[in-house]
């Protein structure tokens, strides 16, 4: 069913877009066609189900699509073909992805003192595609064809098919994903690493204290510290913790278990940061429990009367970095920060926000850091394995583009809570914090992607640092971080042997164990363009294109980026039309089956806040979203660019989510309530004519006018409708890596403008095209290319 190309008549503007290709239809079709059976990875070049489909994966030699998704599973044999098609060859890799409980985690393989068995030449790790020869005494590398002796301790006989007899006993021979235990050779300075540390660094300037943030953080930490990540079977977490507070000076705390009271050490020499204490800064939570509790009790009191409004920022990171250096370990800094760091110190920033730069050649500077200081600092952090997570609580511009540099390059996460208020934002912040602290994370990581001869990884997108062209270095890497890798031909590929990818991630686990996680994936190769177009994955393609464009804005005017994006897609589609589609009239728009949603999704990317900001979008928002998208996986980009719109007034008995509808105002009925989610926000839209009973049930008020748009949660009411809606909200929250902000939108209320921005099939106020208009535009472009 996937093979027939889709023909469309030239869509006239007056045509209702009800007839346009429906994203919802495509998603629903995939769900019903592929959701029922597990996806078995034994076969080369299989296109997995869409990210929107729930399916189980059985690893039979290729990495699960939860770890790696490709833009195409059948790639051109030659570079010329690839250029002709303009289809980017990219893989979206999420090395530490969380698996559903039904699927098994990668097995840990220990090859003993000599370490994992590897190819002598290209150093690829033992994997299912290695070919054992000479009765099992040697193996030929599937990537570079070099022949390597099998080490004696690893020798095993082959059966009559040439497979080793222990094939099924060894994960590295039978599975697509597995882990090796690393030897000391894989460790920094040839020393096994110490367990990592978490350092909590809390802004205690006036704004932070006054908003109640400091008290909230301290309260939460008291319980949260019991949930630090730990290795599967361990009794307690090996992670040590430390605490710093700061405004324009830094306060370190000695929380050694032997102390009756914590001790505060102030370092005001912010120009030349150092850690003033040796032991007692990083401690085991259980041992120092009472001292830590006492500290967290006292911090809000100590700064309750502060009048200090200025903050520093770079010295805070430096302090954390120095502390990790002194403790000779990797770790993560959790920085809670409220304002532009204007106090006299290294990395001091000025307010350079200027909306007038939008749509000029200088617009790119808004995305660039205002000083290179943070880039250098990031480099030092990466070298030490110091990952920085940033929680921002701005009341005005604080230059996310600059403050985020270190976070971004160390593989950390940024969270932003503008105009933070405890009452409305505490749930969101605390849920984010809890998840961020608890989630699986690796430290001091290096990722290398090896490919079979003929293609080569050439470009990387994500939150990391690269000191050379092949190694992706991440001070920290958590289960949500995704790296998009682009491949280019450097030689010919053959249809017979296909193309292989091996992603090897060396990292330190939360217990301080050095490990290698290996993901392997085999792809088909083709000499016919039709085969390429048949095996593409539009969601992954959009993930790549968005990241590519979002990086482009750093260097080129936004308009150039947008035009290039449109042009590339037009070329992709024109190439298909020219080479694969059966002849038809020029008035017909013919799209490949796998790419029929490319125009609608691309339009969403083009009208996103980064590429086409509305007047209400701040510079910080754009920088923030730019960084967020760069680390997103395919499912996240999918819902971020084409939000999910769910009618809530449906059959209440059903257990599953209601069927989504298309993102257009036309679809909204005045008498209904809808929910829209994009991974960051959840909107609950209430039509003006909704029955009073529903309003009563959902909001606990008697009329539409009494609904408060101030709510950040839905009231807990004991009726089936309320329960159903809240369970839907909960279900959605669980699916996303960040806790979404709930916004109640009343039809015809002023907040509706914001909501309409997410109805992406409609024309947007900032000038973004409607789906129909964009499709016409694309068609015109394609026709131009063809003539």
């Amino acid at each position: 069913p996937l093979t027939s190309p889709l023909k469309l008549h030239y869509p006239h503007p007056q045509n209702s877009n009800h007839k346009l290709l429906s994203t919802i239809q495509v998603i629903e079709d995939d769900r019903s066609n592929r959701g029922s059976e597990p996806f078995v990875t034994g076969v080369r070049g299989q296109v997995p189900p869409l990210v929107t489909t729930n399916f189980l994966v059985k690893d039979q030699g290729n990495a699960s699509p939860r770890y790696i998704r490709c833009t195409s599973y059948n790639i051109p044999c030659t570079s010329d073909m690839a250029k002709q098609s303009q289809v980017p060859l990219a893989a979206v890799i999420k090395p530490l992805a969380t698996l559903p409980p039904e699927e098994t985690l990668p097995y840990l393989v220990d090859h003993g003192e000599s370490g994992p068995v590897r190819c002598n030449r290209c150093k690829a790790y033992m994997c299912p595609f290695m070919q054992f020869i000479e009765g099992g005494r040697r193996f030929q590398c599937c990537f570079c064809s070099c022949v390597t002796e099998v080490p004696p301790h690893y020798f095993q006989h082959l059966d009559h098919t040439g497979k080793r007899v222990d094939f099924y006993d060894r994960p590295e021979l039978s599975l697509g994903s597995y882990e090796f235990l690393a030897t000391v050779d894989y460790c920094k300075n040839n020393k096994f690493p110490s367990p990592p540390a978490f350092i909590f660094m809390i802004d205690v300037s006036y704004n932070a204290v006054k908003s109640g943030l400091v008290r909230l953080i301290c309260e939460e930490l008291k319980s949260l510290l019991d949930y630090l990540p730990r290795e599967g079977n361990m009794e307690e977490s090996a992670i040590r913790v430390g605490f710093v507070t700061y405004n324009k000076v830094l306060h370190f705390y000695n929380v050694k278990s032997s102390l009756a009271q914590p001790q505060m050490m102030v370092v005001s020499d912010v120009a030349d940061m150092f850690v003033p204490l040796l032991d007692g800064f990083l401690v085991n939570v259980n041992e120092s429990r009472t001292v830590i509790a006492s500290l967290l009790d006292q911090i809000p009191e100590m700064f309750a009367d502060t009048r200090e409004t200025e903050t520093v920022f770079a010295p805070v990171i430096q302090a954390g970095l120095e502390a990790l250096k002194a403790a000779e370990c990797s770790g993560k800094l959790f920085i809670f920060h409220t304002s532009l760091p204007i106090a006299e110190a290294p990395g001091k920033l000025k307010n350079r926000d200027d909306k007038k730069l939008i749509n000029t050649d200088k617009e790119k500077t808004l995305f660039q850091p205002q000083t290179s200081f943070y880039n250098n600092l990031a480099k030092d952090c990466v070298a030490q394995g110091c990952c920085v997570d940033l929680f921002l609580f701005p009341n005005q511009y604080l230059d996310v583009a600059t403050l985020g540099v270190v976070t971004y390059q160390t593989g950390g996460s940024i969270y932003k809570y503008a105009y933070f208020q405890v009452r409305t934002d505490q749930d969101r912040f605390l849920n984010d914090l809890r998840r961020d602290v608890q989630k699986e994370v690796g430290f001091d990581a290096v990722m290398r992607v090896r490919t079979s001869t003929g293609i080569r990884a050439t470009d990387f997108f994500g939150a990391f640092y690269m000191s050379n062209t092949t190694d992706v270095e991440m001070a920290g890497l958590d289960c949500d971080k995704t790296i998009t890798v682009e491949f280019k031909h450097d030689d010919k590929l053959s249809e017979d042997s296909g193309a292989l990818l091996q992603c090897a991630l060396l990292y330190t686990s939360c217990a301080g164990q050095r490990r290698l996680r290996i993901h392997n994936l085999s792809l088909n190769c083709c000499t016919q363009l039709a085969d390429l177009y048949r095996n593409c994955e539009t969601d992954t393609l959009i993930n790549y294109l968005a990241k590519y464009a979002y990086r482009g804005v750093l260097n080129s005017p936004v308009k150039t980026v947008r035009d290039a994006l449109i042009n590339q897609c037009a070329q992709i589609l024109a190439c298909y039309r020219k080479n694969c589609a059966s002849p038809s009239s020029a008035g017909q728009l013919i799209l490949p089956e796998c790419m029929k949603l490319l125009p609608v999704y691309l339009n969403c990317v083009l009208k996103s806040d980064v590429l086409q900001p509305g007047p209400e979008v701040t510079t910080d928002d754009r920088a923030y979203i730019r960084q967020l998208v760069t680390s997103m996986d395919v499912a996240e980009t999918n819902v971020f660019f084409y939000p999910r719109l769910l009618p809530l007034v449906t059959d209440v008995d059903s257990d599953s989510l209601p069927a989504a509808i298309r993102n257009s105002e036309e679809r909204l009925s005045k008498g209904d309530i809808y929910l829209l989610e994009n991974g960051l926000n959840i909107f609950v839209w209430v039509g003006v004519n909704v029955q009073q009973g529903l309003i009563q049930n959902l909001f606990g008020v008697s009329s539409f006018s009494q609904i408060s748009s101030d709510l950040s949660t839905l009231p807990v009411l004991e009726n089936p409708f309320s329960k159903k809606v809240r369970s839907i909200v909960d279900m959605l929250q669980v699916q996303r890596s960040r806790y979404m902000k709930l916004i109640i939108v009343k039809q015809e209320d002023k907040l509706e403008m914001l909501f309409k921005h997410f109805l992406v099939e409609d024309k947007s106020l900032s000038g973004g095209a409607s789906y129909v208009d964009f499709l016409c535009h694309m068609h015109k472009e394609i026709r131009q290319l063809l003539s």
Partner: protein, 740 residues
């Protein structure tokens, strides 16, 4: 008038002044020909229990350039209520309060017995005393424990309203906040970075924030707590808190690898202490008390690197110009000392370690500010513990025997030179040497029978925080050196002269090379003998000195051998330490330092002083030597044998027991009172510690002349040093030589 000796003693007791010459040569030329300069030793705050201070302001001469204080030497016209300044001859009206004076109703300052008088004046706000402890934590556990206990104990000795602060240092420097409940706070500084006073104050948050100007709103001026309160707190408020804090002090936690010294940031710690006081309490009495257990090894003021294989500089290194850090470090501490002095604060150094601690480089901190310098082997010794306790000794009124921020003004008639000094800290025994210059030209001498007058005005902050002024006015006769040399000669104070010359010598030794100073001293001595000796030319045997000069050459002999001028066998730190104390002790103590006192205890009679001579070392004697810095008890050979045999424990030899006990009791008496407490050495014939005695006595018998002398008494000293006898012979020869 009785003898000059009595006159001198009376003057010293009443005014704390001793002049080298009690009759003054009347012209500049004559004065220089006297060889020993016209100078005096002044003990400005000499304890005078019989002198109650008066509760009013002194009356000053109205001439702006003079401002001398009314004294018994002034001419007073009781009828006109006028007085004439005896320095500038200005006639002054008495202030209204003096309206009732007459010949029979004189204010105290006009009575001759009040040549020294003390005024209590009410000026400005009274600020409490300030004690800032600067504590090294790179100590051995037991040393640190002992120091902590001493410091805790000291809190109970401070006046309740005194402000106290704490800075600790090791690899880093911590300034402790004392006001906080719950969490203890400290500000931490790198030990390697020299910070300006401004930076330190900014970083400690001491700089007053600019008052924000808010339009339309009244300026908020609530009672702002004293900005300094975080670091310096009244003892009575934070007594418990600080005791706990001191109790919890840990050794510097940074690891010290084998073959390394701990990193000790003394230079930065002192710099921060100085900066802290400078920013908070300029010009009030404050003591920075530095306790250190080793040399500074990093940052500004480092004296030695942290590699143990490179030893700390010795005199040998210094002579060879091999002391890498010395100049830079000295400069650092000098800058600090000058700043401290400018603020009227003082720095004490308590250095306790077996090796040197950098006193040579740091000496100026104590020297320029009037601070104490105490050197010991360990904080866990009674030497340190008791000395430290004695710092806080109280007088009879329960007041500290310490004073701060003094300034000394000297008014003289016919004499020139600098006349104002600042002494940041004084105690009752602090003694200054003041050298005068006679400015009268030879052709215009002062008329016969005239009297020269000197007035010393010492303003200081008393330990009770009162501002006080002590005024001493003295007068001496002028005499024409040509016609009345015998008057001048008779009025020579050879003890004062010896100490004054010794201080000059030490001053030169600090700035010049050792041998040059010895040559200079010798030349001065020879010139003096030539001037005042009686002899026939080229006949050494005819040489005689009058009684008032007779002891002087002997003082010079011992001075030449003293650790103040000889660096052999002393580390640079020890030399600095000895010189520091020599420059501030009073005449009696100074003489002991130059020529130690030796007492003999035997069955032949009561204890008696004996010659500081090897011939005094006899087998049946116990000797007690007091060098000021050391108390040595030495058992003669026979006595030692008796003691070993245990005779003292036998009832029938109780007298031996008493003999053994007697010097111990006498030694205890000295140990109880002296500051700093001397090192106590108990040794015997042949003991290794006997070297302390043997190096001091006049080597009249050495291995060179023992047999020639053929005597059996005394103990030969293994030395090539010349004996007093040889010294005197040479002196006589040179003095009478017509060639020189």
């Amino acid at each position: 008038m009785a003898t000059y000796l009595e006159f001198i003693q009376q003057n010293e007791e009443r005014d704390g002044v001793r002049f080298s010459w009690n009759v003054w040569p009347s012209s500049r030329l004559e004065a220089t020909r006297m060889v020993v300069p016209l100078a005096c030793l002044l003990t400005p705050l000499k304890e005078r229990l019989d002198l109650p201070p008066v509760q009013y302001e002194p009356v000053l001469c109205s001439r702006p350039t003079c401002k001398a204080v009314l004294s018994p030497l002034c001419q007073v016209d009781y009828r006109a209520k006028l007085w004439a300044c005896n320095f500038c001859f200005q006639r002054n009206q008495f202030p209204p309060a003096y309206a009732g004076i007459s010949e029979v109703n004189q204010p105290a300052e006009l009575m001759p017995q009040f040549s020294t008088i003390e005024y209590i004046v009410q000026r400005g706000p009274q600020t409490p005393l300030i004690f800032l402890y600067v504590v090294d934590t790179c100590l051995e556990e037991e040393d640190l424990q002992a120091l902590k206990e001493s410091l805790q104990m000291s809190l109970s000795l401070l006046p309740a309203d005194a402000l106290v602060g704490l800075i600790t240092f090791g690899r880093m420097v911590q300034v402790h906040e004392l006001s906080c409940e719950g969490i203890s706070k400290s500000y931490v500084f790198r030990g390697t970075k020299d910070l300006t006073a401004k930076q330190i104050q900014d970083m400690l948050g001491l700089s007053r924030p600019a008052v924000p100007i808010q339009q339309g709103r009244p300026l908020q001026t609530p009672e702002q707590p004293v900005i300094s309160s975080r670091f310096l707190q009244p003892v009575h408020k934070i007594d418990m808190n600080l005791t706990d804090l001191l109790g919890e002090l840990q050794r510097d936690p940074w690891p010290v690898t084998q073959g390394k010294r701990p990193l000790r940031s003394t230079g930065v710690a002192l710099s921060i202490a100085v900066g802290l006081l400078e920013g908070t309490f300029p010009n009030t009495g404050a003591r920075i008390m530095l306790f250190t257990g080793g040399p500074p090894t990093q940052g500004p003021g480092m004296v030695v690197g942290d590699e143990l294989k490179t030893p700390i500089r010795s005199w040998h290194d210094i002579e060879k110009d091999n002391a890498r850090f010395m100049k830079k470090a000295t400069k650092h501490y000098e800058t600090l000392a000058n700043r401290t002095a400018a603020n009227g604060h003082c720095i004490d150094i308590y250095a306790c370690a077996l090796d040197q601690t950098g006193l040579l480089e740091m000496k100026c901190c104590a020297n320029l500010t009037g601070g104490h310098m105490v050197m010991g082997d360990s904080f866990n010794t009674s030497l340190f513990k008791q000395t430290f306790q004695r710092v806080f000794n109280k007088g009879f009124n329960g007041e500290f025997r310490m004073a701060f921020g003094a300034s000394l003004d000297v008014k003289e008639l016919g004499i020139g030179g600098t006349s104002q000094w600042k002494i940041c800290s004084l105690d009752p025994s602090t003694t200054l040497a003041i050298y005068f210059e006679v400015v009268n030209q030879h052709n215009a001498p002062i008329p016969q029978g005239g009297r020269g007058a000197v007035q010393f005005v010492t303003q200081y902050q008393h330990s009770s925080t009162q501002k006080r002024i002590r005024v001493t006015t003295i007068a001496r006769n002028w005499a024409d050196a040509q016609s009345q040399l015998q008057h001048i000669e008779a009025a020579f104070d050879q003890e004062a002269a010896a100490v004054l010359m010794a201080r000059l010598g030490v001053y030169r030794a600090e700035s010049e090379e050792g041998p040059d100073v010895l040559r200079w001293l010798d030349r001065q001595l020879i010139r003096l003998c030539q001037k005042f000796g009686q002899y026939n030319k080229d006949d050494p045997n005819s040489f005689r000195l009058s009684e008032s000069f007779s002891l002087y050459p002997q003082f010079m002999f011992h001075l030449r051998r003293s650790p103040f001028l000889q660096v052999f066998n002393n580390s640079p730190d020890e030399s600095s330490y000895y010189r520091h104390h020599f420059a501030r002790q009073d005449l009696t103590q100074s003489l002991i330092m130059i020529q130690p006192i030796l007492y003999a205890y035997s069955f032949h009679g009561p204890p008696e002083p004996v010659l500081l001579d090897s011939s005094s070392i006899l087998p049946d004697r116990i000797l007690l030597m007091d060098t000021f810095f050391q108390i040595v008890i030495y058992l003669g050979e026979t006595i030692a044998q008796w003691q070993k045999a245990g005779y003292q424990d036998m009832p029938e030899y109780e007298n031996f027991k008493h003999l053994l006990q007697a010097p111990l009791d006498d030694a205890q008496e000295i140990l109880q009172t002296r500051f700093p407490m001397p090192r106590y050495i108990h040794t015997e014939h042949g003991g290794s510690q006997a070297r302390f005695l043997l190096s001091k006595v006049n080597p009249s018998q050495t291995h060179n002349n023992l047999y020639a002398w053929g005597q059996e008494s005394g103990a030969p000293i293994l030395t090539d040093d010349v004996s007093l006898q040889v010294f005197m012979d040479h002196l006589k020869k040179l003095a009478v030589s017509s060639a020189s």
